[in-house]
C-alpha cells in the first residue's frame, strides 16, 4: 500500500534567540500508509498538538521535512498551502469549528461549493454522506439546534466530503460524553475500514486510542514507543493502559 505521509527528522523550537527557548519537538520521523488509522498519544506538553499542527500545515517545523500524498509541504507558499489543505486534508477539531450561521447542509457542502462543484453533485454527495453518518434528518438545522454528537458528525462529514487523502483529528472526542464518543470512534473506524480513509488523530484518552490501528507515544518531543494493534480492541486497550502506566503519567 502506498505511503500517504512521510515525516522525517521534525524539530520545532519556539521562541527566538536565547530567551524563551523551548523545544517542543526534538527529532521525529514516521510514516503513515494509505488506509491506516494512526493515533498519537502523549501527556500534556509532550508535543503531540505541535506535531499535529505541523502535519496540518497550520504551523511550520523549524527543521525536517513532511510530504503528504507525494507533495513536500515546505515547498509551498501560503496560497498553495491553503489550496492543498482544502483539497487533500480534512480536519476534525475538539470543539467542532462549525460555522454557526450556516445550516448543517451548508457547513458540510462548503468545501465543495468553494471549489465550484455543480449543485447537483454537491447535493448528491452530501445526502449520501449524511446518511452514512445518520445526520440526514438535521441537514436543514443550524449547529445551535443539534446535539453535540450530531455536531461532531457534521464536522466529520465536512472533513470527508471532498475525499481528502488524510483526515486529521485533534482530540475529536474531547467535547463529547462517553456514549457519543463511542459512536464517533466507531464511525471513524468503520469509515477507515470500509472506505479506506486514512486518519491521524491526537488523543490522550486510552479508549479513543484503542480504535487506532497503530499508535505513537510521544514524550518530551520524541516518539518513545510504537504500538501496533494485532488483536481485538479490548486487548489493545489493556495493552495501551499498560504502556501509559509504564511511562509514568
Amino acid at each position: 500500500m502506498k505511503t500517504i505521509l512521510t515525516a522525517s527528522r521534525l524539530k520545532k523550537v519556539y521562541g527566538s534567540k536565547k530567551s524563551n527557548h523551548y523545544t517542543a519537538l526534538q527529532d521525529i520521523s514516521f510514516s503513515i500508509r494509505e488506509g491506516e488509522f494512526v493515533g498519537i498519544m502523549g501527556p500534556s506538553g509532550s508535543g503531540k498538538t505541535t506535531l499535529l499542527n505541523i502535519l496540518s500545515t497550520l504551523d511550520q517545523a523549524t527543521s525536517g521535512t513532511i510530504s503528504i500524498d507525494g507533495i513536500v509541504l515546505s515547498a509551498m507558499n501560503e496560497d498553495q498551502l491553503s489550496e492543498f489543505r482544502s483539497k487533500r486534508l480534512g480536519f476534525i477539531f475538539q470543539d467542532f469549528n462549525l460555522l454557526e450561521n450556516m445550516t448543517v447542509f451548508e457547513n458540510i457542502s462548503l468545501p465543495l461549493s468553494l471549489h465550484g462543484h455543480p449543485p447537483g453533485v454537491i447535493k448528491e454527495r452530501v445526502t449520501k454522506l449524511a446518511a452514512t453518518l445518520s445526520i440526514e434528518g438535521v441537514l436543514d438545522k443550524f449547529p445551535s439546534e443539534i446535539s453535540g454528537g450530531q455536531k461532531q458528525r457534521t464536522a466529520i462529514a465536512r472533513a470527508l466530503i471532498h475525499r481528502p487523502a488524510l483526515v486529521l483529528g485533534d482530540e475529536p472526542t474531547g467535547a463529547l460524553d462517553s456514549k457519543n464518543a463511542t459512536t464517533l470512534l466507531e464511525t471513524l473506524s468503520t469509515l477507515n475500514e470500509e472506505e479506506q480513509v486514512s486518519i491521524a488523530m491526537v488523543t490522550h484518552d486510552a479508549k479513543s486510542a484503542s480504535y487506532c490501528s497503530r499508535l505513537f507515544f510521544i514524550q518530551d518531543g520524541n516518539i518513545i514507543r510504537e504500538l501496533k494493534r494485532t488483536q481485538t480492541r479490548e486487548r489493545f486497550y489493556d495493552e495501551i493502559v499498560d504502556v501509559v502506566s509504564e511511562l509514568g503519567r
Binding site: N20, N101, S113, L114, H115
Partner: protein
Amino acid sequence: MIIKLARTGMKGKSKDYLILFSGLICSVSVFYMFLSLSTNRDFITNNSVINSIQLVFWVGTALLSIITFFYILYAHSFLLTLRKREFGTYLLLGIKRKQIKQVAYYETTIIAVSSILIGILSGLVLSYLVSLGITKQLDIELVGFHPISLPAFLVTVVYFSLAFLVTSLWNSRKLSKTPILELVHANVQTEEAPS
C-alpha cells in the same frame, strides 16, 4: 460566494452588528447636527454673545471627530475579533486570505454606507425637530437657522468615509498578520502555547 459569506456572517452576528450600527448612526447624526449648527454662520453670529463662538465650534468639531474616529476603530476591531474563529475556519477550508479580506471590506462598506446615510437623515430630522421645539417652547424666532446644510453634509460624508477607510485598512493589516493557528483556535487555550 464571497458576498454570500459576508451576508451569512453578518446575519449570524446580527445582534452585535445592531449595537455597532446604532452606535454609528448616533455618532453620525450627532456629528451632523453639530456641524450644521456650526456651519450656520449667520445664525451663530446673530445669536451669540461672545465673538470667538466660531472658534469654540471648530474646536468642538475637532474633539468630536477624534472621539468618533477611535469609537469606529475600536468597535469595528472588536467585531472582527469576535469572528476570528470563523475566519480561521474559512482559511482551513481553503478560502484565501485575500478573499477573507474581501469579505471584511464588503461588510465594512455596507455598514459605512448605510450608517452614514441613516445617520445624516436622522441628524437632519432631529435638528429640525429640536429647532421647531425651541421656537415653540420659548416663543422666539430662530433667525437664519436651516437644518439642511450642504457643507455639514459634505464634511460628514467625507469625514466618515475616511474614518471607515482607515479602520478597514487597519483591520485588514491585522488580519494578514495573525497566524492561521491563532485564528483557528481563537478563544481556545492550546496546551503548548509558548510563553
